[in-house]
Amino acid sequence: MLKVQGLTFAFKNRPLFENLSFEVGDRSLIRIAGANGSGKSTLVSLITGLISGAQGEIIFDGPNDYRSWTSWIAADANGLIPSLSATANLEFWLRLRGRNLPNEVLESALSDWGLSGVWVQENLPISRFSTGMRRRLALARLDLEASRLWILDEPLFGLDDAACQKFRNNLERHIATGGAAIVVTHDERLMIGLDHETIKLGRQGN
């Protein structure tokens, strides 16, 4: 569903990667690894289309707008409005994707990620949430968006062991049911036992 061909990108005159090519098909899981500053997040931004200016080609192969079947999670942000409740946040993002889900579905997805109870789900603005709670909310949104392709930048950021395990299971299920994912992570544990391909960024011999 995604093909990257000969991607070359330099940021402020510093070459980040050269002639990078890979392909993402159904059921493929790709891990992007590399040292700090090796361009992992930049690669994600280029793939998603948040930034442009690279040489080479990024081709999405799928029905109409690639954004309607792609989900993204940023490394250091969740895309949530702090003054609104968890359900209000979910509702907004899902409606923009044409998914008007009944409240029970939202609630069960939230409970799934350990965000249970009316107070947490509907009354508390998420500015009161901890880092881990916000990340779990973002991951609940990822589940509900039901996209075929996940592009995730450090999805485990701020998660405890139990939540990491749950995410790993979800990822496995997503791949098994025909989805695909590109995951930036330096946590080896996430990938143990999952069939995947690793793209290592960074200059050789450095």
Binding site: K12, N13, R14, S52, G53
Partner: protein
């Protein structure tokens, strides 16, 4: 040593000096205002140059908006800086001229008001340019603002002129006017033409400067990394 824009700048500056000497010693004195009117040969050309810069800014902005990823703001920045210099010159000479003729340094005359606003907008453009880090979004934002400024100049001029004519029936002495004699008019028109060329040459020389500075910065950065 001298490239084309620089050479044309030198040539037009010589022409400008000749024009000023003519303005000073050759054209006759104005009956109503006396010698003080001679400032018109600096004031009006400067105003034309200021508005020419807005036109260049508009063209540069449209060009930059068509491909924001690859374009740079060098031309827009040069036009804005040169434009700001000429608007300030226009305001200063207008003010100096106003003191003996209107008896005051400043009046909210349509032309002065518009020029004043133009100076503010050029200043605002430069501030915005400074405030956004380099990259495609700076190109987009500054180009949009540049286009807005260019669209706004005639709008402001139109509304302010109408406002002034309603509120201040012809008490002010209109600069220029149709009563000028032939020599005066000819000298003024040639002055405008010369100043517009000076302005354009300044913009291009300044653009070369900016480009040079950018490439120096890039090279030195590459050396460090």
């Amino acid at each position: 040593m001298f490239d084309k824009p620089r050479l044309s700048l030198v040539a037009t500056i010589i022409a400008m000096i000749v024009q000023w000497l003519l303005a000073w010693f050759w054209v006759p004195v104005d009956d109503a205002q006396g010698d003080v009117y001679r400032i018109i040969y600096l004031h009006v050309p400067a105003a034309f140059a200021a508005f020419t810069s807005a036109f260049v800014l508009a063209v540069a902005s449209i060009l930059a908006l068509r491909s924001p990823n690859s374009s740079k703001l060098d031309l827009s920045k040069a036009a804005t800086e040169v434009g700001l210099v000429f608007t300030i010159l226009t305001l200063a000479t207008g003010s100096i001229w106003g003191k003996p003729t209107w008896g005051t340094w400043w009046t909210w005359d349509a032309r002065l008001t518009t020029t004043f606003l133009l100076a503010l907008m050029y200043g605002g453009w430069l501030l915005l340019h400074n405030a956004i880090p380099e990259g495609p979004s700076r190109v987009r934002s500054c180009s949009i603002l540049g286009l807005m400024i260019a669209v706004d100049v005639p709008i402001i001029y139109k509304s302010v002129t109408w406002w002034r004519t309603l509120h201040q029936p012809q008490t002010i002495l209109r600069s220029g006017g149709s009563t000028m004699d032939g020599d005066m008019l000819a000298l003024l028109l040639s002055g405008i033409a010369i100043m517009v060329i000076v302005c354009l040459s300044m913009i291009f020389v300044r653009r070369q400067n900016i480009r040079l500075q950018e490439s120096l910065e890039e090279k030195s950065l590459r050396g460090v990394v």
